[in-house]
Symmetry: C2
Subunit: 315 residues, 2 copies
Amino acid sequence: MALDRLIEGIAKLQNPTVAGLDPVLDYVPGFIKEKAFTQHGETLEGAAGAILEFNKGLIDALCGIVPAVKPQCAYYEMYGWHGVKALYDTIAYAKDKGLFVITDGKRNDIGPTMQAYTTAHLGTVTVGQRTYVPFGGDCLTVNGYLGSDGITPLLDTCRAQDKGIFVLVKTSNPSSGELQNQIFEGGETLYGTVGHLCEQWGEGLPGKYGYSGVGAVVGATYPEQLAELRRDLTHTFFLAPGYGAQGGGAKDVAPAFDSNGLGAVVNASRSIMTAWKKSGAPETDYAQAAAQEAKRMRDEIIQEIGAISLPSVNG
Amino acid sequence: MALDRLIEGIAKLQNPTVAGLDPVLDYVPGFIKEKAFTQHGETLEGAAGAILEFNKGLIDALCGIVPAVKPQCAYYEMYGWHGVKALYDTIAYAKDKGLFVITDGKRNDIGPTMQAYTTAHLGTVTVGQRTYVPFGGDCLTVNGYLGSDGITPLLDTCRAQDKGIFVLVKTSNPSSGELQNQIFEGGETLYGTVGHLCEQWGEGLPGKYGYSGVGAVVGATYPEQLAELRRDLTHTFFLAPGYGAQGGGAKDVAPAFDSNGLGAVVNASRSIMTAWKKSGAPETDYAQAAAQEAKRMRDEIIQEIGAISLPSVNG
């Protein structure tokens, strides 16, 4: 089960974090852009070439430190289909380096359309007699507003192809409570209701360390809800965005973890990708600066939660 | 304002429908696939070539009958970045033929990431000294689960670039009520709450026919909620999926319209794209069969709601 692989990577590297790959051109050092623009001009192809080169450098420096990367689709779509090709190439490169890939697309739809998204991001597609991997992530973030019709099409593919999903439960943004914190007549919040659905959806995808293949996105910026949901959703692994640039710190995310130091993977994007700007490092050292920041974040969290151990597995 | 253009197109053609372009390879006639596979092999490029050719035939036959098309991103992403290139080419071709394009991506995220989606699907992106249109739709469907932080980044671009959005309110699927119909302590449903947010978000994007640039997705399969929301959300234009293959009929969608025959655009995808299969037409006549089905649907709805007239506009 896909999340078992993530959990094993976390334990091996003693690092429960994932590096976001959200490559805005402004984050990319000038020498990379110059090279790409010389080759392709100031075009979408040039932009896509620059972000791919930037990502490859980050991946080379981060693999062995972080167990996973999380490319955010929006930053690739922004550069048109050339950008989307860079997303494909980034995922392939990261997997080749042994990284676990969470494709952050927050996709949502129903029935056959959700099946098409599943095929796109987690599955394989058949053309005539041949089969292809359209994007090839290990996990996909999804939005559950449409109910079970939007989630169940994913589960068969997750089972068959060793993949997983993270469903938006309590997001990290300031206005996330506008809908998510509202309380239904039965006494449960919207986010709590979606959280419990995650436990249900995950029943068909059990994992060997106690966490199912249906994870939940819970913002590092809401430590109280993290703690509450960790208590309630005992089989649901969390993806916690909002660390670093959005204001969440190690103390804030600590409640997301169980007594083994498992239960969550914490994401940071901007703080890692732009570390070279903040540290004043020469731009050619951007990848080393990113690795340094990833190590700092790892140490900060491990100091808070202690060493990570895999629970013993029967059989 | 973008929805004014859609409304004018609807009134001009006396047709409040939008043709979904969800090109699964199974829907594509054999002669188109053979040509594409001969040229590109049984590859993702071949699949993308086939769906683009299929779409172009549909667009040629449908322009002049329907005012708008709605490509659904999932069916393009399914064929990898080559498929996403076919999405770009489809949008450009449709706009060139004078069609209004609703990109159905149900995108959602926060802050800078939502801004990146906005740039991708409704805006322009700068690379060095040059500016490009990444995808170029007129409207984008979005999911409001993350609250205002997920919507407000869209509004400035909508204003500046003459674009609009449709927010998921009450979706057409059987399980849409699982979350959306639940009632908050204040007495309002989740879908009603999101609907009222649409009215608020739309205040900054007023249109000349009374409908704002922030529309709502409300399924044609739920006539009661359509009627209720039409009464409540007087400035919110509806995109109503679920007609045809999903079971909604002309009587079901009638409550979505106001006394001018405005207020909604009804989507049908499969019933139009696969009309050639159902009618038993030779596969080379797939586009004419689609046009025939689009006319049938138009006539069926107009018979129910009467002629469409633009309200008089001051100034």
